[in-house]
C-alpha cells in the first residue's frame, strides 16, 4: 500500500480540476497475497454458510441470522478494521473495502453484516470514550453482541434532523429518558446494542446515545414485510421513557448529527463496495445461465441481444469498481497524511473520509444504479425463470432495490455531491472559479486545430476526459453565475450536474485503472478491459452531453446559450467507435470464462 505523502496529493473533489497519474491510484488487480486469502475466506464463508441457506434466511428462521453473524465473527470478519486493542485486526481501509465487496454477494446477510460493522459499531468506535469503547467494542468485534442504529423516524427520513425523539434528564440526574419511535431499523430483531439519536430537551440538534436492548422502556414492533432483503431484520423500535445511563451519552451533546453524517460518508462508499460484489455474482449467474440455456438449437449466449446485456453489465460494474477503489485509497492516504501531521488517529480517519465525501456520495449513486441495472438484465437473461421464485434472480432483483433508497436516497446524494463541491469552492477549499473562467474564455476563442495531437494508447481518452471536465466547469460555472443562491432550489439542474460529475469520475477512474493495468500486464492481456474503457467513455460522453444540454436549456438563453451548447458539443466530442463489436468482445470473454472475469 503506497503512501504518496505528497503535499500536493489530490484533495476531495479536485478530480474536476486536476489530472491524476495512473500510477498513483490503487487498482483491484494489485491485491497482495494476504488480501487474496482474506477475500477467499469471505467467499468460502458465503458458499458454506449463506448461499445454501438463502431461503431459510429469507424466511427469518429463528436464530439463524445472529448465528451467521457469530460464524462470521469467529472467522474474524466482524473485526477487520477494529483496532487490535479492542480485539480486531486493525487492517487498512482498502482491505476492509475488499471484505465488504466479497461479502456483498450475500443478499440479506450482507445487509445485516454491513449494518452491524458500519452504523452498528462505528459510532461507538469513533466517538466513544475509553470506557464505552472498552465495554462495547470487543463484543461487537467478536459478534457476541450485535449492533443496530436508530436514526430514521416515520416523519424523519432524508430530513434526519427533524426527528421527534426526545431525551430528558431524570430527576436524580443519573439517566436520560428517551421517548420516540424509530423506523426501518436493521438488525433490530436480534441486536444487543442500539446507537440511538434523539434531541435533549429543546436542543436544535440531535445527540447520540448507546442503548442496550435490556434497558427499561425499549420495545420492538414485529418485522416489516419488505419487497426484498426479507432475511434482514427490519423493525420499528419504540422508546417509552427508556432509561439510558448518562454515561451512555455518545460524544458531546448535540454532536449527533455530525456523527450521523460522518458515519454516512463511510457507509456510502461501503455500500458501493457491497453492490459491486453483488453485481459480479449476479453477472456470473447470468453468464452461466446463458451458456446452458438453449433455444433454437443454440445456447442463448450465442445471441447478440444477450451478449449486449452481459457486456453492459460488466462495463458498468467495472466502472463502479474502478471508482470505488480509487476513492478508498484516496481516503486512506488522506487519513495517513493527517496522522503524519500529528492528528489523533480517529479524528484523522474521519477527516480523511470527509475529504472524499463527494466521491463517496457519487460512488453510492453509481454503484447502486449499476446493481439495479445488472439485476434487471439478469432477470431478463433468465427469461421466464427470472420471474420464478425458484430461481435466484428473483431474489437478486428484489434485494437490490433498497440500495437506491437507504444510506441517503440517490436523489439526496446527487444534490449533496454538487452542493458539497460548490460549498468547498465558495470556502476557497476547491478552486473551481479559476478553471471555470478559463473554460469560459476558451468558448470565445478559436479552437487551436493545429495543436499537436498527443501520441499514446490512452491519449484519445485522456483528451475526452479533459473535455468532460471543461463541460462540467462550463455548465456549473454558468449555473452558479445565473442562478446564484437559487441554484439550490433548481434540483433538476443539480441532478444534471451530478450526473455529469458521476460520468466524469467513473470515466476517469476506469481510464486510469486500465492504463495502470496495461502497464502491469501489457496491452495484449488487457484487450477486453481496453474495450470496456472505450465503450464506457463513449457512452459517458453522450450522457454528459444530454445532461449538459438539459441544464443549459433551462437557465441560459440567447447568444450565451448558443455558445455554451456549441462548447458542450465540442467538449464531449469523441471519435466514433464500433461499440457493438467492442461489447461482443467483452461478452465473448465472459462467456469463455463462464463468470465475471475482469
Amino acid at each position: 500500500m503506497n503512501i504518496t505523502g505528497s503535499v500536493n496529493a489530490i484533495k476531495g473533489g479536485e478530480f474536476l480540476v486536476r489530472e491524476t497519474e495512473a500510477d498513483s491510484i490503487f487498482i483491484p488487480e494489485e491485491w497482495n497475497e494476504e488480501q487474496l486469502m482474506i477475500a477467499e475466506t469471505c467467499t468460502n464463508f458465503l458458499a458454506q454458510h449463506v448461499t445454501p441457506n438463502l431461503t431459510r434466511i429469507d424466511e427469518q428462521e429463528e436464530g439463524l441470522m445472529p448465528h451467521l453473524m457469530e460464524e462470521a465473527g469467529a472467522l474474524g470478519l466482524l473485526g477487520i478494521s477494529i483496532p487490535e486493542e479492542y480485539g480486531g485486526f486493525g487492517k487498512d481501509f482498502t482491505t476492509s473495502m475488499l471484505v465488504t465487496e466479497k461479502l456483498g454477494a450475500g443478499n440479506s446477510f450482507s445487509v445485516a453484516f454491513s449494518a452491524h460493522t458500519g452504523i452498528g459499531t462505528l459510532p461507538i468506535l469513533y466517538y466513544g470514550n475509553a470506557e464505552q469503547k472498552q465495554k462495547y467494542i470487543p463484543k461487537l468485534a467478536s459478534g457476541e453482541w450485535k449492533g443496530a442504529y436508530c436514526l430514521t423516524e416515520p416523519g424523519a427520513g432524508s430530513d434526519a434532523n427533524s426527528g421527534k425523539a426526545r431525551a430528558k434528564l431524570s430527576a436524580d440526574g443519573k439517566h436520560y429518558l428517551i421517548t420516540g419511535q424509530k423506523m426501518w431499523i436493521t438488525n433490530a430483531g436480534f441486536a444487543d446494542i442500539f446507537t440511538v439519536f434523539a434531541k435533549i430537551d429543546d436542543d436544535e440538534n440531535l445527540s447520540a446515545f448507546i442503548v442496550e436492548k435490556n434497558f427499561e422502556g425499549l420495545s420492538l414492533n414485529p418485522e416489516e414485510h419488505k419487497m426484498g432483503i426479507k432475511g434482514s431484520s427490519t423493525r420499528q423500535v419504540f422508546f417509552n421513557d427508556c432509561k439510558v445511563p448518562v454515561e451512555n451519552l455518545l460524544s458531546e451533546r448535540q454532536n449527533g448529527f455530525k456523527i450521523a453524517v460522518n458515519i454516512l460518508n463511510l457507509g456510502r462508499i461501503k455500500l458501493g463496495g457491497g453492490t459491486v460484489g453483488a453485481s459480479k455474482e449476479v453477472i456470473t449467474m447470468a453468464v452461466r445461465y446463458a451458456n446452458e440455456r438453449e433455444q433454437f438449437g443454440r445456447a442463448i449466449s450465442k445471441y447478440g441481444a444477450i451478449r449486449h446485456k452481459l457486456a453492459q453489465q460488466a462495463i458498468r460494474t467495472y466502472g463502479s469498481e474502478s471508482a470505488i477503489y480509487r476513492a478508498s485509497q484516496n481516503m486512506e492516504e488522506a487519513t495517513e497524511q493527517f496522522v503524519a501531521s500529528g492528528m489523533d488517529e480517529i479524528k484523522a480517519k474521519l477527516k480523511g473520509t470527509e475529504q472524499f465525501a463527494i466521491e463517496a456520495a457519487l460512488i453510492k449513486v453509481h454503484a447502486s444504479e449499476t446493481l439495479d441495472y445488472v439485476v434487471d438484465e439478469g432477470v431478463q437473461i433468465y427469461g421466464g425463470m427470472g420471474y420464478s421464485a425458484e430461481a435466484p434472480m428473483d431474489r437478486a432483483y428484489r434485494d437490490s432495490r433498497i440500495n437506491r433508497i437507504f444510506e441517503g436516497t440517490n436523489e439526496i446524494n446527487r444534490m449533496l455531491m454538487v452542493d458539497m463541491m460548490l460549498k468547498r469552492a465558495l470556502k476557497g477549499e476547491l478552486d473551481l472559479m479559476g478553471p471555470a473562467q478559463a473554460v469560459a474564455g476558451e468558448l470565445t476563442s478559436i479552437p487551436d486545430f493545429a495543436a499537436a495531437e498527443e501520441e499514446g494508447l490512452f491519449s484519445k481518452e485522456k483528451k475526452y476526459i479533459k473535455g468532460f471536465k471543461k463541460a462540467i466547469l462550463m455548465v456549473a460555472g454558468a449555473a452558479v453565475q445565473k442562478l446564484m443562491t437559487q441554484l439550490g432550489k433548481e434540483q433538476e439542474v443539480l441532478m444534471c450536474l451530478a450526473d455529469m460529475l458521476m460520468e466524469l469520475y467513473v470515466s476517469e477512474s476506469t481510464q486510469l485503472r486500465v492504463e495502470k493495468l496495461v502497464g502491469m500486464r501489457g496491452e495484449e492481456a488487457c484487450k477486453e478491459q481496453l474495450d470496456i474503457m472505450r465503450v464506457y467513455i463513449n457512452d459517458a460522453a453522450e450522457n454528459i452531453l444530454k445532461s449538459g444540454k438539459e441544464a443549459i436549456n433551462s437557465f441560459a438563453d440567447g447568444d450565451e446559450k448558443r455558445m455554451m451548447l456549441m462548447g458542450l458539443k465540442r467538449f464531449t466530442k469523441t471519435e466514433d467507435i464500433n461499440t457493438i463489436q467492442a461489447r461482443r468482445n467483452i461478452a465473448a470473454k465472459l462467456i469463455t470464462e463462464n463468470k465475471y472475469c475482469f
Partner: protein
C-alpha cells in the same frame, strides 16, 4: 503425548486446475482431511508440532502459506518439480529421515494425476506401514487407530507409530482460514530445501482429451420398455 514428542508432517500437493495462468490450490484431500486432522491432533494436545512438506518450485509458496493459514508450525518446500511419484516420495523421504516423524498424513490421491502412490512409496522408503483410504484417525498411546475403507465396507486397524496414513472423507471437516490464521501465515517459517537429485522412473509423454459424447438419445418417460430395450440391444449393458 506423555513420552515422545509427536511431530506430524503433511504432503500438500500443488495442483494446477486453471488452464489460463496458473491457479494453484492445495490438493483437497490434503487440505480438507489430512491437514485439518493434524491441526485437530495438535489442538487436543496429542501432537506437539506440525510440519507441512511440499515438493515444488517457488510458485507454490502462496499455496503453502494458504495451508499455514489453516495451521501448522513450519513449512518446508523441497525445491524441485514434482514429476513422478517415485522422485517426489524420494525427496520427501530424504528430508523426513533427517527429522524423524511420528506420524505422516497425506491425502488419498491428488486430483491432478490421480495416482495415489506417493504416500505408499514414501512409507516403503521410510520403512513404515501405510494405511490408505482412512475415514477416521485416533491416536491412543503410541498407536494409531484407523478406520479405513475396504471393499464392501470398513475395517478398523491398529498400528504402532510411526506410520503413514492417507486420508479421505470422514477424517475431518474442512475449515475456512480465519483472520488470525491468515495473519499468522506470514510469520510462520517457510524453509526451502534443495534436494539431492533423484531420477524419475516414469515420464508423461503426452495428453489427450476424451472424445466428445455423440449426443444423448432422449426417451419418453412413458416408455421405459424402450429404454430397457436400448440398454440391452444397443448399449449392451444389461
Amino acid at each position: 503425548m506423555p513420552d515422545t514428542t509427536t511431530k506430524i508432517i503433511l504432503n500438500p500437493n500443488a495442483t494446477a486446475i486453471n488452464k489460463e495462468g496458473t491457479t494453484y490450490v492445495i490438493n483437497p484431500y490434503d487440505e480438507w482431511y489430512a491437514l485439518i486432522r493434524a491441526i485437530e491432533l495438535k489442538e487436543s494436545g496429542i501432537a506437539t508440532e506440525i510440519h507441512l512438506i511440499t515438493v515444488g518450485k517457488a510458485e507454490v509458496e502462496p499455496i503453502i502459506r494458504k495451508a499455514l493459514s489453516l495451521g501448522g508450525d513450519e513449512a518446508i518446500r523441497i525445491d524441485a518439480e514434482s514429476i513422478d511419484p517415485y522422485q517426489t516420495a524420494a525427496y520427501i523421504a530424504d528430508y523426513a529421515k533427517s527429522v524423524g516423524y511420528d506420524l505422516v498424513l497425506c491425502g488419498k490421491e491428488s486430483i491432478d494425476y490421480n495416482n495415489g502412490t506417493t504416500g505408499v512409496i514414501l512409507a516403503e522408503m521410510l520403512d513404515l506401514d501405510y494405511i490408505g483410504f482412512a475415514t477416521s484417525i485416533k491416536i491412543e498411546g503410541n498407536s494409531a487407530i484407523v478406520n479405513r475403507e475396504i471393499e464392501g465396507g470398513e475395517e478398523t486397524d491398529s498400528c504402532k507409530l510411526p506410520v503413514v496414513i492417507a486420508c479421505q472423507k470422514g477424517v475431518a471437516e474442512a475449515r475456512i482460514p480465519n483472520m488470525r490464521g491468515i495473519m499468522a501465515a506470514r510469520t510462520r517459517p517457510l524453509k526451502v530445501v534443495t534436494p539431492s537429485a533423484v531420477s524419475p522412473l516414469t515420464e508423461i509423454l503426452s495428453y489427450e482429451l476424451p472424445l466428445a459424447k455423440s449426443g444423448v438419445k432422449m426417451v419418453s418417460p412413458d416408455n421405459m420398455d424402450e429404454l430397457v430395450e436400448l440398454l440391452h440391444s444397443e448399449a449392451k449393458v444389461i
